[in-house]
Symmetry: C2
C-alpha cells in the first residue's frame, strides 16, 4: 500500500512529538507500506513568524510573507526526516519546490496548478520515506508561494492524488470528525465515516479538522482521507465518496460558526440592479459574502437586504455599503456582530424531507429566534442571536438523535 | 556606486535591529547608490536549530541540516525586505537559489562553484534593493546546501564580485579589526586599513570578525571589503590589496587561539615515510592539522613529532595516533590540551627582519616557555602554555608598539 501521512502543527509541536511521529512512520514502513509524509510547521511557529512580520512592517508584502512562512514547514520537514532516519528507516526531506508543486502567483493563498510528484515517486521507489514540507509551492517563475491556512492538508491530498495513494491520513490532535463540538455537547459522537460533501459543509461551517479546499480536491480526485489523532491509535473518521449507508442517516452533524456578522440595508427600492450594484462593490473589495436574504414587501415597493460577511471584514463591508446607501436611495445600514450560524448537515436530506421543519420547530420550542435561513441539498443553516449558540447546538444535536449509537455506521469508538 | 551590505546575526537580532538595518539601507539607497543586502540568521537562531536537530537525532544527516539551517537566513531576508519596503524603498527578498548560487554537494560546508547574479542585477536595474539570504546555495541537482559557519560573509563577497560592486560592507557588532582582542588589551587600537593577507592570518588565527574563505575570495576577485559596526556610524576597517603604506608597519596585530590541542609522539624511528604514514591517517579522518614540529636527535636515530589539531578533534586524533604508534615502532603518544597559539601578523615582516627574534625575546623576558614555533611570510606563531595567553598577548602588543597612534595609517578612531 502507498500511504500519505500528514502531521499537523501539534503533532510535530515538540521534539517528543516529532519522535512519536517518526515511530509511527517507521511502523507503517515496517508493515511493508510505501509512506510519504507531509508536515506542518511546529505549532505556534507560523503565528510567531506572522507576529514578527507585523512588528517589522505595517503591511508586509505577500511575496515576503510567503518566503517567511514557508520556513516553518522546512524546519519541521528537516527535523522529522532526521528523526525517522535515526530509527534506521531511510528518509529524506523535500521542499514544495523539490516536489514540483507549481502554483499560481496569488501570494499567501496560492492555488496549486500542477504537481509532478516525480521526486516523491523516485524516493518511494528507492525505499525512502519522503518528508515533504507542506503548505508551499513555487510559481512558474520560481517565486516561493504558500497555500493559505491549513494548506498542508491540501499538499497532502494533492500528493496523495499524484501518487494515486491508497490512503491519505491526516493526523491531528482530535480523534476525528464529531457530530458536533464535544466542548458544547459532551455526548457528541465521533463519526466513523462521512462523505466528502458532508465534510465540506462541516469544514466550511467551522469544524476546523480539515481545510475546505483539501476536501474539494480529495472529492475531485477521489482520494480516501482519514482524519485521526497522532496522540493515540484510534481509527479516526474516514472521508470518502457517498455510499448507500450514508443516505440512511438524515443528519450527520451540527456545526456552528461565530465568526460572521450581519449587515442589513433597510428600505431599498425594489428595482432591478440594486442587489447587483451592492454585491459587486462588496466582491470588489475581496469580501466573501456567505448568506443573503431579501424580503420584499409588495405594498411599499421597498425591500430589506441582509447578508453575512466574516467578522474580520465587517467594518470594511459596512463602510462600502454605507457609501452605496444614498446612491441606492436606501434608508440606512445596520451592522450586527452578535450573531451565530447554526447548521445541520447530512447527505440523507436529499432523500428525506422534514429536516428544515424539524430544525425550525426545535429552535422555536426553545424560543430561539431565527434571523436568516439558507439551505443547500445537504444542509440547513440558521442565523441566530449568538448568545443562544450553545443551546441551539445542544437541542439540535439531541433532536436529530446524534448521540445515539447508530448501527448503520458501525460501532462508535470513543 | 554599487554597494553590497552584509548584516550579521546580531545586526538583525531583533525587530529593533532589523528596523535599524532598514534605515541604514534606505539611507545608502537615498544617497543614490545601488544597494544589495545579504543577511545572516537572527542571532541565536542557528544555534537553536542545531540544538533541535541534536535532540531529534544522534547524527543528523548533512543534507537535512542544510534544509534546516538555511531557514534562518530566509526568515531574516523576508523580514528585512519587509522593513525596507515599509520605509518606502523598493526591496525584495531572494534565496540562495533565486540568486543562482550553485555549490558543490559537500553538505554543511559547500563550496561555491558558480554564481550568476542575474536576478540581483535585474533587481538593482529596476531600482529594488535585493535582500539575499546568506549562507546558502543549491547544487546542480537542486539540493539545498549551506556554506559553513560565517558563510554569509562569503555570500556577500561572492555577490560583490559578481556585481563588480564598488564596496562590500560587512556589518557586525564591533567597530572593525583591532590590533588585538580589546577584552585582553584595553589599549587595542582599531585598524583603519589592513591587507587581505594580514586579514587572512588574523581571521584564521581566531579574530572572528570575518570568515577566512570570504577573505580569500575577496583577495582573488579584488573586492574591497569594509568591516564595521551596525550599531554606530564609525568608519570601520578597510580590507584591501597591500599597498606601500602598509609595508612600513612591521606588525599589524597580535592574535591568539585557545582552540588547539597538542599531540606528541615520542621516540619515533627516524626513517622515511613515518611522518607520511601518520599524517595520512589523520587527514583520512578529516582532521585539519595546523602546526607540525619534528625534532631529530641525530645520536639516537629517533625523533619526537608534535602537532596541533582543533580541540574538538583531539580525542579522535589521539585514538588514530595511538593505533599507529606500535606500527611505527614509536614509544608513546601524549595529548596536551592546555595550550594556546599566540601570533604576530604584519605584511611589513616581508621587508623587515628581527620580528621573530623580538617575539621570542619578549616572551622569554616574561618567562613564557615556547613549545612550538611556526612562521609564514607575514606571521610568527608560538605555542605556549594556555595560562599565559593573556599575558603573552599584552606584552607582545606592547613590545610591537601597537597601542601607539600610527601616523602612517592615519588617525585612529576609537
Amino acid at each position: 500500500m502507498v500511504i500519505v501521512q500528514k502531521y499537523g502543527g501539534t503533532s510535530v509541536g515538540s521534539i517528543e512529538r516529532i519522535k512519536a511521529v517518526a515511530e509511527r512512520v517507521a511502523r507503517a514502513r515496517k508493515n511493508g507500506n510505501g509512506v510519504a509524509v507531509i508536515v506542518s510547521a511546529m505549532s505556534g511557529e507560523t503565528d510567531k513568524l506572522i507576529a514578527l512580520a507585523n512588528k517589522v512592517a505595517l503591511n508586509p508584502e505577500g511575496r515576503e510573507m510567503d518566503l517567511l512562512l514557508s520556513s516553518g514547514e522546512r524546519i519541521s520537514a528537516a527535523l522529522t526526516a532526521m528523526a525517522i532516519s535515526s530509527l534506521g528507516v531511510k528518509a529524506l526531506s523535500l521542499t514544495g519546490r523539490q516536489v514540483g508543486i507549481i502554483t499560481d502567483d496569488a501570494h499567501t493563498s496560492a492555488k496549486i496548478e500542477k504537481i509532478s510528484g516525480e521526486t516523491v515517486k523516485k524516493a518511494l521507489a528507492k525505499g525512502f520515506v519522503p518528508v515533504i514540507a507542506g503548505f508551499q509551492g513555487i510559481t512558474q517563475t520560481s517565486e516561493v508561494t504558500t497555500l493559505g491556512r491549513g494548506g498542508s492538508d491540501l499538499t497532502a491530498v494533492a500528493i496523495a492524488a499524484a501518487l494515486e495513494a491508497d490512503l491519505c491520513e491526516i493526523y491531528t490532535d482530535v480523534d476525528g470528525v464529531y457530530t458536533t463540538d464535544p466542548n458544547i455537547v459532551p455526548e457528541a459522537r465521533k463519526l466513523d465515516k462521512i462523505s466528502y460533501d458532508e465534510m465540506l459543509e462541516l469544514a466550511s461551517l467551522g469544524a476546523k479538522v480539515l481545510q475546505t479546499r483539501s476536501v474539494e480536491f480529495a472529492k475531485i480526485y477521489d482520494v480516501p482521507v482519514v482524519v485521526r489523532s497522532s496522540f493515540n491509535d484510534n481509527p479516526g473518521t474516514l472521508v470518502v465518496k457517498e455510499d448507500r449507508d450514508m443516505e440512511k442517516v438524515v443528519v450527520s452533524g451540527v456545526a456552528y460558526d461565530k465568526n460572521q456578522s450581519k449587515i442589513t440595508v433597510t428600505a431599498v427600492p425594489d428595482k432591478p440592479g440594486v442587489a447587483a450594484r451592492l454585491f459587486q462593490a462588496i466582491a470588489g473589495a475581496h469580501i466573501v459574502v456567505d448568506m443573503i436574504v431579501q424580503n420584499v414587501s409588495s405594498d411599499r415597493k421597498e425591500t430589506d437586504i441582509s447578508f453575512t460577511v466574516p467578522k474580520s471584514d465587517s467594518e470594511k463591508a459596512l463602510k462600502i455599503t454605507g457609501e452605496i446607501v444614498s446612491e441606492l436611495g436606501a434608508k440606512e445600514v445596520k451592522l450586527r456582530e452578535d450573531i451565530a450560524k447554526v447548521s445541520v448537515v447530512g447527505v440523507g436530506m436529499r432523500t428525506h424531507s422534514g429536516v428544515a421543519a424539524k430544525m425550525f420547530g426545535t429552535l422555536a420550542q426553545h424560543r430561539i429566534n431565527i434571523m436568516m435561513i439558507s439551505t443547500s441539498e445537504i444542509k440547513v443553516s440558521c442565523i441566530i442571536d449568538s448568545k443562544y449558540t450553545e443551546l441551539a447546538v445542544r437541542v439540535l444535536h439531541d433532536a436529530f438523535g446524534l448521540d445515539a449509537v447508530r448501527k448503520t455506521r458501525g460501532k462508535s469508538r470513543r
